[in-house]
């Protein structure tokens, strides 16, 4: 599971990690924050019409999370797959609290969540992250920028203040949670190497025996096919 503010590069890293695990023949499932089809329309409606309050914003994301847990993550984990999650409960702990939701309430809200085996936090200075976001795409969205809180009329300014608050929340919980902290200003390759090292070090034995994986012959077949494609 990876966490970090927007622009920290965490999605790139978890994607690379899941491909790597898969290439080792391990059964991998991938779950992304805010991606439940059951809730999608409601979230879309709320965002389009700017209907969310801090409480309903928090609750709809918890509903989304619960759906992914109940229908996808838990059954696949029981089946022996490794689940890679792009953002987890800590996103809510950081972001909803930055929006003014009670710390205690949101922690209780997510208390049904399984504790992850490995948590990575991509630490990045605010300016670096904002530079990546502004360079990468054209418009920051309303809720992403925290415009609902009236921090500033200027989208970029609001985004900066809001992401700064989220960053503070992440930093405040980093120790309590026991994140593996990755320096997100390093090269992509270096970060990925660190992640893989930590995965092997922490999950090594269970990766060999405790997870669902393909038979060696199947792995070989996939490698051959991949080589042919390249």
């Amino acid at each position: 599971m990876v966490e970090g503010i927007d622009g920290s590069g965490k999605s790139t890293q978890i994607s690379l990690l899941s491909h790597w695990l898969r290439s080792q023949g391990i059964a991998v499932a991938f779950s992304e924050w805010n991606s439940s089809p059951l809730v999608r329309e409601t979230t879309r409606r709320g965002k389009r019409k700017e209907m969310f309050t801090p409480t309903t914003f928090s609750l709809i994301h918890a509903t989304d999370f619960a759906d992914r847990m109940e229908r996808y993550v838990l059954p696949l984990m029981k089946a022996g797959a490794i689940v890679c999650a792009d953002r987890y409960t800590y996103t809510a702990f950081a972001r909803d609290v930055a929006r003014g939701v009670s710390r205690r309430w949101v922690r209780n809200l997510y208390s049904f969540a399984t504790r992850p085996n490995l948590s990575f936090y991509f630490r990045v200075p605010l300016d670096v992250a904002i530079g990546r976001i502004l360079g990468g795409r054209d418009a920051i969205k309303y809720y992403e920028a925290g415009m609902d809180m009236g921090l500033s009329r200027d989208v970029e300014e609001s985004f900066r203040i809001f992401q700064g608050r989220i960053l503070d929340e992440y930093e405040a919980m980093a120790h309590e949670v026991g994140f593996h902290i990755i320096d997100a200003t390093l090269s992509i390759e270096e970060q990925q190497k660190q992640m893989r090292d930590i995965v092997i070090q922490e999950l090594g034995e269970s990766l060999r025996n405790g997870v669902l994986r393909m038979a060696p012959g199947e792995v070989h077949a996939i490698e051959t096919a991949t080589a042919l494609l390249q």
């Binding site: 309050t53 109940e70 229908r71 309430w105 049904f112």
Partner: protein
């Protein structure tokens, strides 16, 4: 039950809401499925409006944000128990913040068909953790009164069969398969719901109303209770007498639009 003034939150204040500025009254009608809540809410609304009160009535899954989504989710076959609990809580929060609180600010009488107690009861009936769901819904405002329309399962069964003529999938808790057919599942699920509501009745000071009686008797009973809540009353309501002098039109003229 004495009326509580001013309104306050159970556990956790909603960000941005000052409960001291809520001047209206919040009245909750609770009870299991098919007990006749909707009928009573309609009767009460009519009566309260006759008395000169502005009334907002609201109920589960009717919110602008999540109402549609909940209906769609219930038509599919993938809605898990925790997801359902949280979806309903999202809808409740939306209605609380965007309908109920503004109405209370404006001095309305808010009549709500079900409240957080139904969400809690359903969660508990599905085996979810009581403390978890009580804290999740802890941003609810403590109502001035909760009227619990109580019936036993036998009465509910006869109401469903004689009234609607068929069991409903969700009212039977079929998502949890409490029995291998809808009747058995209905009986088990509703028994659990009633038990959960009975427990809350003490803790949250519900006024329990026997719902095994005819609707008009229940209505008289509810009226009597609500009259004790000290709603503001209009004194010396002017009476409008019918006149024999005709000016050509029948009945009252519509007021002109300004």
């Amino acid at each position: 039950m004495q009326s509580k003034q001013p309104l306050h939150f159970y556990n956790e204040a909603l960000p941005g809401v000052d409960s001291a500025e809520l001047h209206g009254k919040l009245i909750v009608i609770e009870g299991p499925d098919a007990v006749g809540r909707t009928t009573q809410v309609a009767l009460l609304r009519h009566w309260l409006e006759q008395e000169g009160h502005a009334v907002l009535d609201t109920g589960m899954a009717r919110g602008a944000l999540a109402g549609k989504g909940i209906k769609q989710a219930k038509e599919g076959n993938t809605l898990g128990p925790i997801t359902m609990t949280l979806y309903y809580t999202t809808d409740f929060a939306d209605r609380l913040e965007n309908e109920i609180v503004p109405a209370l600010r404006a001095g309305f009488v808010v009549l709500t068909d079900r409240y957080i107690f139904s969400i809690v009861a359903r969660a508990i009936a599905r085996g979810e953790d009581r403390r978890w769901i009580e804290q999740v819904t802890g941003f609810g405002l403590v109502p001035h009164a909760v009227y619990y329309l109580r019936a036993d399962v036998k009465q509910l069964v006869s109401r469903v069969v004689l009234g609607r003529g068929a069991f409903d999938y969700w009212e039977s808790g079929m998502d949890m398969r409490f029995g291998d057919n809808m009747f058995d599942s209905f009986v088990k699920y509703q028994t659990r719901l009633i038990r959960a509501l009975d427990v809350m009745a003490k803790k949250y000071e519900f006024v329990t109303v026997d719902a095994g009686r005819p609707p008009d008797v229940i209505f008289q009973d509810l009226r009597k209770h609500i009259s004790r809540l000290n709603l503001k009353t209009i004194r010396n309501t002017p009476r409008i007498h019918a006149t024999t002098r005709s000016n050509g039109s029948n009945g009252a003229k519509r007021p002109r639009k300004a």
